[in-house]
Symmetry: C2
Subunit: 230 residues, 2 copies
């Protein structure tokens, strides 16, 4: 159940509707884990509701925390982003400090996994929300990756292209500078082909939006893992 | 030579004058290491000059990096502060990102030690320079300590009271929440008595200004270590 072995993760948005049939296909697809998280309208209610439905299936469930208000117990992991290319201190360490101040006494640190986000699509909601500086050179991105691995010792470096398929040459370059830190890739994976391309370099791919647009294509992305493993 | 075993460190400011006689007393005092760093007028020239003089003695030398321009090779460690209670992104991760972008290819990461600073004296130069938010409750400071240890996995949490002797009750509380992360304390240690008080809770005390004000008192602070060890 160690997240360091995961290659494929489905990201479910608690603010979006999904039928029981689609959810079953997602959870029985062979994916390594379900990550629950979103940028908009995430509430304790919709997080709990979705989580309960996912818990019927035997696979790891992660809550990616975007607001403190929607944190609930019972997850295998809590992924906590720090947005390394944010211009807003809140998203780098401010919200984290506030959350720790409030819950520091009762937190189980073994379940908390810091993620170093680098948001690379200027047009996505996460970029706007976090005031991310997305106009980055290759050197800028590599430096964020090294900052994540060597300075802040973050277990995950997450290249987030949410809504578009990213620059695979850049993903490859980032992978080459990382050693212990796992490289997560998200954005624009909407087919087995794009999944395959991203998995060629990323350790873990995160498949999200396509779940709500084309469930068949979403399920197909899991095939890329079997191919890579073979 | 592992910094995790150090209890007493003298901090020498490259912008301040020190006689050969005083430097010899400092270096032969029994201190565990010499830390070279300052907030003002630190240049490559004065860093190199002071370092060369310290190198005559057989003890570990650390460069605490405050500006990229004064970085020189040949140190046992490079301590790199991230100011956790700074309101200025540059001091949290901006300068670090810039330095890694420039020197990432050639850095020897094993020598780099990130320090999570919490600056607690509003009137000190470091607080003004880094725009530190020093009006903190006990809970705020404990949350920064936990942020350092559990979120950013920083090997050092540094309570900096530069220029005044700090709140030892707070130092004690911080020590209680840290496990792997070492607690460094700096500020107002100007006698064996203040050294003893700080060493009761901090893992490592940093003695600076008194070197330039009263060399006998400075040397005396080392005695507190022997007492603690005994």
């Amino acid at each position: 159940m160690d997240f360091k072995t995961w290659q494929h993760v489905f990201k479910l948005d608690p603010a979006k509707e999904i039928t029981d049939g689609h959810l079953e296909r997602i959870c029985k697809s062979g994916t390594d884990a379900i990550l629950i998280g979103g940028s908009d309208n995430v509430t304790l209610d919709n997080v709990l509701h979705l989580t309960e439905r996912v818990q019927h299936y035997q696979l790891p469930i992660v809550l990616e925390i975007s607001t403190i208000d929607s944190v609930a117990p019972g997850f295998d992991y809590y992924f906590i982003p720090t947005v390394l290319n944010s211009d807003n201190l809140l998203w780098v360490k401010g919200l984290h400090h506030k959350a720790i101040r409030e819950y520091g006494e009762i937190l189980d640190w073994d379940e908390l996994v810091p993620e170093g986000y680098c948001i690379l699509n200027a047009d996505c909601k996460a970029a706007k929300l976090t005031d991310a500086q997305t106009d980055l050179t290759t050197e800028d991105v590599l430096a964020y990756a090294r900052l994540a691995e060597y300075f802040f010792r973050l277990p995950i470096f997450y290249m987030e292209y949410s809504g578009m398929f990213g620059d695979m040459e850049l993903v490859e370059k980032v992978k080459r500078v990382l050693v212990e830190t796992r490289l997560f890739y998200g954005g624009g994976i909407h087919s087995v082909d794009t999944a395959r391309k991203a998995l060629a370099f990323a350790d873990t791919i995160v498949v999200g939006n396509i779940i709500y647009e084309n469930i068949d294509k979403a399920i197909e992305t899991v095939e890329a893992v079997a191919e890579t493993a073979g």
